[in-house]
Subunit: 276 residues, 2 copies
């Protein structure tokens, strides 16, 4: 039997969040130790693929991370994106739009943060915030939000046509685990700064956000979404690292051939001794 890919196992086809287990392990390692071993190997291979992508310089990857507070968007950046050479990475995190940003089209600040060719980009939150928050907070009409869904689909098609491969991850966490993690931020003086009282306001709208996610995941799946069970940090990190790895393996970036005469350069190097 052919081994199923992580992308096949986690691709979101029918969007029904109530049937997705945030603590599930639909594929892959069964415990933290196995996951850590695999993550280290994946890191080495990812680093090599990233170097080839950089050397090739004609394509890019963009990891889009969405999920409720504490679902681990920052953790993925640190533990997964952190596996590769930081020179080949471009990270952007999107907070609540500033007044200046709100005067622009919602994709304006997104476009500015796209990875250069040869890079792996990572978005900690993204353009998807601009269809989630307005729906929950009723800042836009239903028609305006549908227009944004269409614009996002077009934008992502445009990226693909321009050589940017998207890996869209919905980090799926349970409200119980979110509570644990928010409490941990309050209990640990080294984590107090990560806590924001507004987080509880968002948390209190949990089911509204799940509805907004469901509508968005359905409307914006021209480029597929992956649902990553995120109640276990080790599983979440493993899964995202594998989604990236499978994507880069398929892209199969190649080190370019030399644009010069190898033998002539060797001869020059050996003959031209600066100390003589």
């Amino acid at each position: 039997m052919a081994k199923k890919s992580v992308r096949d196992a986690l691709r979101l086809d029918e969007v029904d969040l109530s049937t997705l287990d945030p603590a599930g392990r639909p594929i892959g390692p069964r415990n933290k130790r196995e996951a850590a071993e695999d993550l280290a190997l994946t890191g080495t291979e990812l680093d090599g693929l990233q170097e080839a992508l950089y050397a090739e310089g004609s394509r890019a990857v963009l990891l889009v991370l969405q999920g409720m507070d504490t679902s681990g968007k920052g953790g993925v950046v640190s533990h997964v994106v952190g596996l590769v050479n930081p020179q080949g990475v471009r990270i952007a995190s999107f907070k609540k739009p500033t007044p200046a940003e709100r005067r622009q089209h919602f994709l304006w600040r997104i476009r500015k943060a796209l990875p250069e060719k040869g890079r792996i980009g990572a978005f900690d939150r993204s353009h998807y915030e601009d269809v989630l928050v307005p729906r929950v907070e009723k800042l836009l009409t239903a028609a305006e939000i549908r227009k944004r869904y269409r614009e996002i689909n077009d934008f992502e098609q445009e990226l693909a046509a321009g050589g940017v491969t998207l890996v869209k991850c919905f980090l799926h966490i349970s409200p119980e685990v979110q509570k644990e993690r928010l409490l941990a931020r309050l209990d640990d003086p080294r984590k107090n700064w990560k806590y924001n009282p507004a987080d509880i306001d968002v948390r209190s709208k949990w089911s509204k956000y799940q509805e907004a996610y469901t509508a968005m995941l359905k409307a914006c799946s021209d480029t597929p979404w992956y649902a990553v069970p995120a109640d276990r940090k080790w599983y979440r990190n493993w899964a995202v690292s594998r989604l990236l790895l499978e994507t880069l393996r398929e892209m199969d970036p190649k080190f370019p051939p030399p644009g010069y005469d190898l033998e002539a350069e060797k001869a020059r190097l050996i003959s031209a001794d600066p100390l003589r």
Copy 2:
């Protein structure tokens, strides 16, 4: 006897490159294995200090990497800067200025790439290229270069006053080891892309570059330089990691106290269950 710091051991006081051994180990581990163990521990501590620096959000560190081709500027970014969370890092590499950049003051593109508060910045080449190349290539008069030295000293004082701590590293390599590394780039198809025929033109001016470095290191030491022996990659990485570690330990960044009522937030979190 008090243990000497790596900063004290490598600080460049009297600039005479001919007396500095690029294969030296003036302090620290005696072999690769010891260095690797220490680098791993240093990485863990650096990552924690970087998180506090980020949380504090009022200061920054800027690692300036200078050295001849193959001295390992990129290797330091990958193996040392790569030890900390990539979200807290800002990397910039400076190639030959473009025509658009040349129309600006030479510090213009440097200022644009400075790390935000809370970040560790890393410059792979820097404003120092703008006093090295013009001196070797006679693109500026001696008076113009002296003016740039003064501007650099002023600029670095301004950075310090603004909360940016500089760690300036001169990666010191021998011409023999450079030859080995250039040959390796020609011999390994995965490294061919890193080789540029112009590298040999620069190499052929080795002694002129050593003179230009000497003059620059003497003139621009208001903020100290560290001379890092770079013939051994493991020693170079170890040394830079330690320079960063000692700098961050001295800065002693603190996690900020919560800007909210801890107990009230805990009560809110426990009572406001979104599932009830």
